[in-house]
Subunit: 400 residues, 2 copies
Amino acid sequence: MEWEIIARDLTFSTPSKIVLLVIDGLGGLPLKDKTELEAAHTPHLDDLAQKSVCGLTDPVLMGITPGSGPAHLSLFGYDPLKYTLGRGILEALGLGLEVEKNDLVARGNFATLKNNLIVDRRAGRIPSKENENLCRKINSFIGKRKNPQITLYPGKEHRFVVKFKAEGLSDSLSDADPQKENMPRLPARPLSPESEKTAQIVNTFLDEVTYFLKDSPKANTILLRGFSKLPSLPTMKELYKLKAASIAHYPMYKGLARLVGMDLIKTGPQLNHLFDSLEECFQNYDFFFVHVKKTDSAGEDGDFASKKASIEEVDTFIPRLLALKPDVLVVTSDHSTPSLLKSHSWHPNPFLLHSKTAQSDKVTRFSEKECSLGYLGRFQAIYAMPLMLAHALKMKKFGA
Amino acid sequence: MEWEIIARDLTFSTPSKIVLLVIDGLGGLPLKDKTELEAAHTPHLDDLAQKSVCGLTDPVLMGITPGSGPAHLSLFGYDPLKYTLGRGILEALGLGLEVEKNDLVARGNFATLKNNLIVDRRAGRIPSKENENLCRKINSFIGKRKNPQITLYPGKEHRFVVKFKAEGLSDSLSDADPQKENMPRLPARPLSPESEKTAQIVNTFLDEVTYFLKDSPKANTILLRGFSKLPSLPTMKELYKLKAASIAHYPMYKGLARLVGMDLIKTGPQLNHLFDSLEECFQNYDFFFVHVKKTDSAGEDGDFASKKASIEEVDTFIPRLLALKPDVLVVTSDHSTPSLLKSHSWHPNPFLLHSKTAQSDKVTRFSEKECSLGYLGRFQAIYAMPLMLAHALKMKKFGA
């Protein structure tokens, strides 16, 4: 993406402050005749939309439904088709793991082996509690060793994340998972010469764990897939000269923010805590990523009323946000999550940008339909970052 | 284009059905104050536009007037700047020729040679009937041979297509055409070492035909240009897992559809036959390309009234189309053909997409002007395909 190439040269540091409020999964589809956002009573967002420049964004490309990773990278100005994040890393971030430069992570399943065939790839979806016990036992069995240090982190039901900590590990490995049932166990294959040693380490570990679990009734082996290391992304400091702070509840979004070099601000569990934290740290940074999760969760649950209520709750905090007088305020979402589809979708995101340097357009309500009439038109979300930096007067002219 | 890279990974097969109705050359320019589409009485398309999401597409890039080849490839989701089709191939497809993997084709002219100079590159635009006779004679003169098998296919006036059938032919040849008059005949030059043998075959053929025609008064030699072989495009099955059918009257569009792996459905010569055929094969496929040619032909003729009437005729079939209840219906054009310009143009195409998963916008009529206010904005036509697949729920999420 051309933007990244010129970002480093054009940006410079100023005291002006940018707030990016991401209302996760905000965009929706109509139930009867209104979307969640249209049905919600949002006097503050509507007033703000009238005083802002609006548009609609596509997170990746038109028609493409993004996961949280690519959707946020795009909002942070990183080309999501260039910086792809391994499944292992995203799962690790989602569990709140600290992943460091040398670490290799992968997603894992407990599975059932019988007569040398994988007969259940999910070990009968064992209860999360049993998963926790098994991970603890394996960690103390394997944990005696120091190099590599290997740790399992339990997720839900049969799922976990494994982390290998050592120098020189490579993520160029095939999945140690036959993908289908009634197939034998599959070792990880090295996909390049430099990953041969890593494959040996992983496969020895798989054999040891399988031996250790041999008397367990269901969860008597493990499968690993999505081997990945920490991707090397330039930081927002390097690209944009920004001192950036992240204020989010969920591990996945904190993890994504850390990947681009943001500081993680401690915050409490409620929505108002996000805004408390923002107020507290407002003097110390010049870019703030504030992440609201509830809207997306309600959309994923197919709960139109709850998503509408969550939007209305966010609306009540807009005056507090404006009272901070950020030089640029953007309110948008990372992707749409229509309650109707109970999942992320490809529909574009409503987007508003409020700044002294922005001309307001004809948009009178903050909604999908109204934003489509905005001055910014429909654009790729990766341009949110150059727009924010421009309106904050943090970019010089390109060329003479 | 990034889209192709991710298409293979994201798409999957489902029973949902997509209909792409291409009204060729639909977009126009105003005569007095209305375009052909605005002047037409189109109650069904207007009603559909109100219930659909609309926009305007640029077939290749803004300002670029596309031929039928690139315009359709774009609608099929293929980057028209990556997959360029040789003129020879397009001419052959336009004549309805079967072109196979090893075949080499080129466009040809009958021309007049005098004192070893080409004095008329079009042989006085001989009548098509004479062209047919000459081609037949040359085919029986040359046709005795088997390797290569060489066949001429007459077009209009002085134009024909020639097909060389043999193993190992290359299309890396310069035109055997001086382009200007009062120049000597020009042999085809090999543009790479592997095309030397092909150049010899072509040039021997040119000499033989010129000798054979020596007593013909006007058409006493031939010129060849645009040597091309069948381009190797991934099929829609490979890229999108679609079982695609093409319902079109004209050879060019059938040929383009075959290039991307669509099945060609037999149909009758009238507009209603297209919809008869669609109904008949609707259970057997999940993607349908329906091509209406009359609008473009009327535009090329500069016949505003006839183009308007053709649009009105298409409108009457919309209820039959909707009665099939496709999961996604797109109505658009491949390029504009304003009667005012009597040719293809660079103006954008009206585009509507109707689906349960699409939110309708504020567009109340299907017209160039109204579509510009649509929710989809103005976008490159290559995104029609990801949008159709997304709305048909045939794509999974990109990244986690």
